[in-house]
């Protein structure tokens, strides 16, 4: 029985590739483009952070300049209430009771509210 043999001159080429053109630019273009984009972003970020630091410095120094003023006002209010408390205590108890074993100024935990005052 005769055997099947390849045709004379061999088989023709097999088309295993699809004949579709590659879209877009070369891949290296995308890689470089992405890095350029990132570099631009970091460049803007660098100056943005620098400016944020300066703005924060401006804000905090503005606050530092008015802080003694606010503190002085708050202190005066505290002292006024403290002296009023002491006078009230003197009137009610006839003597001054020391609550803390310290002569520091301690902000009261409980504050006096006028009992029968309705404004």
């Amino acid at each position: 029985m005769p055997q099947d043999m390849p045709p004379v001159g061999g088989y023709g080429p097999i088309q295993y590739k699809r004949n579709i053109p590659a879209r877009g630019f070369r891949p290296v273009t995308y890689l470089v483009g992405m890095h350029l984009f990132m570099v631009y972003g970091y460049y803007k970020l660098f100056y943005g952070i620098r400016e944020q630091n300066e703005l924060a410095r401006e804000k905090i120094w503005g606050r530092i300049h008015i802080l003694p003023l606010l503190q002085a006002e708050a202190d005066r209010d505290q002292v006024r209430r403290h002296l009023a408390d002491k006078a009230r205590e003197q009137e009610l108890l006839g003597s001054e009771q020391k609550v803390y074993h310290s002569n520091r100024f301690i902000r009261p935990t409980f504050v006096y509210t006028p009992s029968e005052v309705t404004q």
Partner: protein, 159 residues
Amino acid sequence: MARREPQFNQQLLVDPTPMPPEIPSVKEIGATSAPLTSVAYFIGDRCKAFNDDFMKCRAESNGRGEIECLKEGRKVTRCAASVLKDVNTHCLKEFTAHWECLENNNHRLWECRKNEMLLNKCVFDKLGLKKEIPGTPENQVPVHLRPKQIYAQFPGRQW
């Protein structure tokens, strides 16, 4: 029960007792946050000595600063009030424009550079007080003098 109207029968919850007469009185500054933010650097320029004195007194009085530094505190308040008074008499228009701008922009100083520049110029011409931010790097323009503000709503030239 939840339907009951809340009753709050003490409107005055602050102790109204005045300061004893032997302690000299001082008129409080009475300005809100925006005007104070606006003049903060001028207060810092004119009242630096008083401010430092007060803070030093408080730091060194061993926890009794509230009572012992009342005198320094009055000086601080009087000095700040004098700055506010001078700015009000000489640069009222620029000052009002600036602090109203701050009020409308959530106290963001970088949104109000134009008004700020006008105010700074007026205050420097009339009162000689200058805005300087301590600690700014020397090789760059201070942030309040830069014509472009990156973070402003309009980031281009401000004036």
